[in-house]
């Protein structure tokens, strides 16, 4: 099993009264809350953490794309990936990814991913998410009625740009290009492995199963709640007549490792509560715009991940309001609407414990969901760099050795990057000393 150290890059200083005073962490969050000094520190510390994770033995480092979002401050994951391509010489670069429909024309994605693949010597995983409604429709103004068609057409263009032997014209419905000629070309042939991050779209399951892409369920709500979704995906794989290779699937999970369970609970309580109770404060009105879901998904009654976040926040608020009304208590609305860390652990949102406990639960998760790729979130919320690195080191040195070999004797990871041979690889050279 491969473990990718995945960063969301949340803004770490949202005020304590954020959920009381602001309606959403996404789309219309108050610009005045952003302090560039915090941004400067945050980006540098977060890149430190990713580089540290690569250095202590994680199989890959992962990043993704969000817009107008205080819990995901990577409007351009490719910028971060470019930095990591130079400083993380061995880890896979898992970019999850570029939201194809937001790039006009999408050939830009083909070019930048090809650059990353060349700089890194063939270590790129090319993630192609549709993107959330908040990112694609509200922040970037795409039309929900045409978003998915635009997305699929964009992927078609990118793949052809990477693989065509000749310059070609592309007469798409949304992209019309007289000359398509992607320079540079990716280092991996025919192209980097493609992973599709998704929520609960039935059509995405069927598509990944049919064409053989790796499906990645990026849920924030833990492995216990993910079973139905992953079973849906594996049913599609079966229906498509493909082998149930666990490496065709991945899952995102929060982890908190310490020397003891009690210490883990103490260490990770605050950042987890910050993330789940503050960062996921999404206004429900943004979560389900018409046209975003496919009709199959509507028919199936599936609920998207962000939709769930918004619903849960709303439900907690409603419950809190009722409770407050009943008791006429003086307690604050936000305090009552918060979920406790114990509840998060109980529901499996965060796997916490000593290394052996975490390893055991992770193997249980991987077997239940049948996944070969774990997107491990060892930084979350307002966690400090020191704590993130402590968590990362324990995970790398004491958990990964216990989980790494899962599936290896039965299945080959066909979705992992194939770097250039060592003889062709160039490492960043030390800077020469210049005498002045």
């Amino acid at each position: 099993m491969k473990t990718i150290w995945f960063h969301l890059m949340p803004y770490p200083e949202l005020p304590d009264d954020f959920t009381d005073e602001h309606r959403s962490v996404w789309v219309d969050i108050d610009p005045a809350l952003f302090d560039a000094r915090v941004g400067h520190r945050m980006y540098n510390e977060y890149i430190d953490e990713l580089e540290f994770a690569a250095s202590v033995g994680f199989d890959g480092v992962g990043i993704n794309e969000h817009h107008s979002n205080a819990y995901g401050l990577m409007p351009s994951p490719n910028l971060i990936a470019a930095a990591l391509a130079r400083t993380c010489p061995d880890a896979a670069l898992v970019v999850l990814g570029d939201s194809v429909a937001l790039y006009n024309p999408p050939i830009r994605v083909a070019e930048e991913f090809a650059m990353l693949d060349c700089i890194s010597g063939g270590r790129l995983v090319a993630g192609f998410p549709v993107g959330t409604p908040m990112d694609t429709l509200y922040a970037y103004g795409n039309n929900p009625a045409t978003l998915r068609e635009r997305y699929h057409e964009g992927i078609e263009l990118i793949l052809k740009a990477w693989t065509a032997d000749d310059v070609f014209s592309f007469n798409g419905k949304y992209s019309k290009l007289r000359y398509v000629n992607c320079w540079p070309r990716p280092a991996q042939k025919p192209h980097p492995p493609i992973w599709i991050p998704g929520g609960g779209s039935v059509d995405t399951w069927e598509w990944c199963a049919r064409v053989g892409y790796s499906y990645l369920y990026l849920s924030y709500f833990g492995y216990k709640a993910a079973l139905k979704t992953m079973q849906g995906f594996w049913k599609c794989v079966e229906d498509a007549g493909r082998p149930a290779n666990p490496f065709q699937a991945g899952f995102a999970q929060f982890f908190g490792v310490a020397d003891s369970e009690a210490e883990a609970i103490e260490l990770y309580r605050e950042p987890a509560e910050y993330f789940f109770n503050r960062c996921l404060h999404v206004y429900p009105g943004f979560a389900d715009p018409p046209g975003y879901k496919t009709l199959n998904t509507v028919r199936n009654g599936a609920e998207g991940m962000v939709e769930r976040a918004a619903r849960e926040a709303n439900e907690r608020a409603a419950q809190a309001a009722k409770k407050a009304e009943r008791k006429a208590a003086q307690q604050s609305f936000s305090a009552a609407s918060h979920m406790s860390f114990e509840q998060m652990v109980e529901k499996g949102y965060v796997i916490v414990g000593n290394p052996d406990q975490v390893a055991e639960k992770t193997v249980e998760m991987a077997k239940q969901l049948r996944i070969g790729h774990v997107m491990s979130l060892c930084h979350f919320g307002n966690m400090s760099r020191d704590l993130a690195m402590h968590n990362t080191e324990l995970m790398a040195t004491k958990v990964l050795p216990q989980i790494r070999h899962l599936w290896d004797d039965e299945w080959e990871d066909e979705w992992w990057p194939q770097p250039l041979p060592a003889s062709d690889r160039v490492m960043p050279s030390p800077r020469p000393t210049v005498s002045r």
């Binding site: 429709l137 009625a145 068609e149 943004f286 046209g291 879901k293 509507v298 028919r299």
Partner: protein
Amino acid sequence: MIDLAQWKAGSLEIWREGEGRTVGYLHGMVCAPGRQPFVTELASRGFEVVAPSLPGYSRTAPSDDIRNIHDWVFALSEIIDVAGLAGAPMVASSTGAMLALELAAVRPEAFSSLVLVAPLGLWRDDLPVADPFSTTLSGQRALLTKDPTTTALFFEDHESGDALVDATIQRYTARTATASLVWPLPEFGLSQRIHRVSCPVTLVWGSDDQIIDPSYADSFAACLRDVRGRHVVNGAGHLAEWDDPSAVASIAASALN
């Protein structure tokens, strides 16, 4: 009477009611078109009202070919031909009114006259048109009409089992069709074409329109060639013909006569 005609994308639902001079009715955003009190009110004033449902609404097939305003205008042009409404007077509401203006700008003979209820299509930075979708369903109802019960047919479940699933899909498709017309904001360059609209126009606005401020009537009047009347329906919201069918029907009948 409901007709199911055919247009290029498949079925085209057309509601016909009343006898007399033919007048078209083009519905607005989100709602369930077809049989509704306004059509009956207008028909009772001596008209044959012909009300086609736009692509994606009711049983009119959505079209995969519609990707921009040009495609929408082309679709409407075909639909009024199929419905026998070319050259007839048209009462149009909201997004339907925007489309009617867009069509009249490129095909001036499409309508003999227009009665427009809160048309979209222009944009003022000082009074942005509201986003009808970045809200909850109850918030959406409050944006559309002053009296939220008038849109019950669209927003509330009256079915069960498979019929409920079908109704859910139909509502979702209609909301998607609306989204495709107003996303990210409903301004597609009409201000550069609207001077081509040559037929007489009557403007009607609900006094409590929460989507597009009634003062937009000034903006439309300033760039239309032949505005014959301007009316405010007190106590009505954006879809004024749903809030006060009788008042809007009276205004329309008077304008058409």
